[in-house]
Amino acid sequence: MGQVKRVKKQGVVMKPSMTLLSATALAAVLAAVLPLQAQAQEDELVLGMPIEPPNLDPTSAAPVAIREVTWLNLYEGLVQIDRNGEVQPLLAESWEVSEDGLTYTFQLREGVTFHDGSSFEAEDVKFAFDRARSPDSTNAQKQIFAPIEEIETPDDHTVVITLSEPSGNFLYYLGWGDAVIVAPESAGTNQTDPVGTGPFKFDDWVRGDRVELSRFEDYWNADAVHLDRVTFRFINDAQAQVAALRAGDVHAFPNLGAPELFAEFSGDERFTAVAGNTEGEIVAGLNNQRSPFDDVRVRQALMHGIDRSVLIEGAYAGFGQPIGSHFSPNHPAYVDTSGVLPYDPVRARELLAEAGHGDGLSLTLKTPQMAYASRSSELIAALLADIGVQVEIRPTEFPAQWIEEVFSNKDYDMTIVAHTEPLDIDIYQRDGYYFQYENPEFKALIEEISVTPDEAERFELYAQAQQTLAEDVPALFLFQLPKLGVWDARLEGLWESTPMPSNVVRDVRWVE
């Protein structure tokens, strides 16, 4: 018995010493690793994104996640949209536009090479644009290339583009991710093995987890690039995003998933927390061909029934700007139309009664799973119940199910989604678009805009278009999606607002 007891005692004594030992060992390992990590951080950036892109070719499909990884990091266009939304030269050093607005002559930058070593020449521009506008192209913004009549390459560093009619926004559109230059040798495999002229080249893509890029040594402006390695990590869960930031696993989350968690960072000096703007208008689209939403009075009643400030407070913790039309407040042509159909439940009930729905109305709201959408839906349902409209919320998984049911088959009453493309007010005149909105006047207005090269005139027309939508409400215009960015306070150069959906890391560097 006594012996057994002693053994037991020894066991008890052993335990703490073992713990101590392992703790010491751990500390030693940490001590050895930590300085290394800090050193590596100097030229390495891990950037978090909520959604993984389906492929890495921005000229192939619409999802913004593709641009958020690739635009200006892997690929470059003739021109670029800068952080203030303005057009700047990129692969084209300069350009001239003819008097009639039909001929654009671009002088290309010399000494530019693609990641595979092939040189960038005028032929590549012709190839890229011809590919994008060919009938079998899957480019998501084919309207960019629609006015192009002919592309000529008088020499290796000159491109002359002739348009069939003047296009007011042609240069602006060429700055989009959809108009980047790809090479004939690699265009076919860009989806999985992207090759561009950007400051970083593609290393690896671990599906479901991360995309790794590294510095492209032969970049034409290599001196301006400070990072050696950039990793894009995909973390969908808002809690996990915050945990990753706090643990230092991710250095930057330019688009934090949960606005209510953003406040935690704004008081923390280790982090920079910036509330910027995206180009995303959150709209509750209506099926304008389906009764009773073909009646403008019903649509106006629904808009009158929604208190935008409640939505912004409840769905986005108070961040976000109310909108009355489909136009970004970042754009110089923006006019504030949020007061055209303000929150007015009494007027809403009157309009419903006029339209013959005095005894109420019921509709289904197909809601994607994104937090801003599902929260807004619950609030919309509660607000509309006050004006006698019963809303049944139907969770609809985005993108697959939503694209099929709402976008393609138009089988819905109301839905809610953020439209993140810049300057996309023209979607309301597109035939077969999911709103099914038909307004010849509006269509004519958009057509006029597209052939008006004069900026002041064009902006005036944009103002008219915004006003038309604000009164006709083919969709309920709710609020501008904010961009709540959080990153390590020692990081410099990330964009605070995104005039284009993007995560441009070219100018990013660590400072002390």
Partner: protein, 277 residues
């Protein structure tokens, strides 16, 4: 007299019964009265802690948490109840038939039960949700299907014992068929056991329902649901911990109460177990 005394003196049973009664009462009351409308949004009350807005505070839309929890109890209980009833009906039918006929019928039923048992309720719910979309029906079917093998096993095992008894032998020799014997002799004799099992399954079903709502395949908003309240509360944990604690507590209490009730009932109904104590 002694039976009554056992009931009165059984603390687990009493406590479990009390909690369950409270839960049932809350659920029923919620159908006729709540302190406020559970869908009424008052954005100024957003994230208000308990006692500052209503008894238990307000959620991230400023809705009254007390009312949400009360209606949540009804939704949770009704889904769990229907699902268990469904599972019990199917399971008892299969189990007693397997016991009555034996042979290949029994083999088929029991192996099918094994296969179903191997699928977690959550997995089957997600599969069903993919087919017919998320909703109360999805939750009921998924949890119900998961309950069938449980009841099939329990009722078969109990029924087999009854089949060995002398009075069944007597009935058989009197020319009664297996269906009649099952109805007249087997079912009354295993009913108590089934009630015990059902109480425990009810607790599990509430837990499963909360899990499904948490994952977004339960009752859609704006119907209040404990599981979804928990899921919504995640990102507010540091600002408003009561949003997570209260529905969590409700789920825990409901499950604990039903489990205790089930344990207590078993002690009383199963005499063999009682004698052992």
């Amino acid at each position: 007299m002694t039976a009554l005394r056992t009931v009165v003196r059984h603390p687990t049973l009493n406590l479990g019964g009390l909690v369950t009664l409270l839960l049932l009462g809350t659920a029923v009351v919620s159908q006729v009265w709540t302190p406020a409308s559970p869908t009424q949004i008052q954005i100024t009350q957003r994230l208000a802690p308990p006692l500052q807005a209503g008894l238990l505070g307000a959620d991230h839309f400023g809705r009254d948490l007390t009312s949400l929890l009360m209606v949540g109890a009804w939704n949770s209980l009704s889904i769990a109840f229907v699902a268990v009833l469904l599972g019990m009906a199917g399971g008892v039918l299969l189990g007693t038939l397997a016991a009555a006929w034996r042979g290949w019928a029994e083999e088929v039923v029991m192996r099918l039960a094994d296969v179903t048992f191997a699928f977690p309720a959550v997995l089957s719910a997600i599969m069903i949700a993919a087919l017919i979309g998320p909703g109360a029906t999805t939750a009921v079917i998924a949890i119900g299907v998961f309950n069938i093998p449980v009841f099939a096993r329990v009722s078969r095992a109990a029924a087999l014992q009854v089949w060995e008894r002398d009075f069944v032998l007597a009935a058989r020799s009197a020319g009664k068929g297996p269906v009649l014997i099952t109805l007249h002799h087997v079912l009354p004799n295993i009913a108590g056991l089934l009630v015990v099992q059902a109480t425990i399954q009810l607790a599990l079903a509430i837990l499963a329902e909360a899990g499904l709502s948490f994952l977004g395949v339960g009752m859609p908003p704006p119907h209040p649901s404990w599981g979804r309240m928990l899921s919504d509360a995640q990102t507010y944990l540091s600002q408003a911990p009561h949003l997570a604690i209260l529905p969590g507590l409700a789920i825990a209490l409901a499950v604990l109460g039903l489990n205790m009730l089930g344990d207590g009932l078993r002690d009383i109904i199963d005499p063999k177990l009682r004698r052992k104590r």
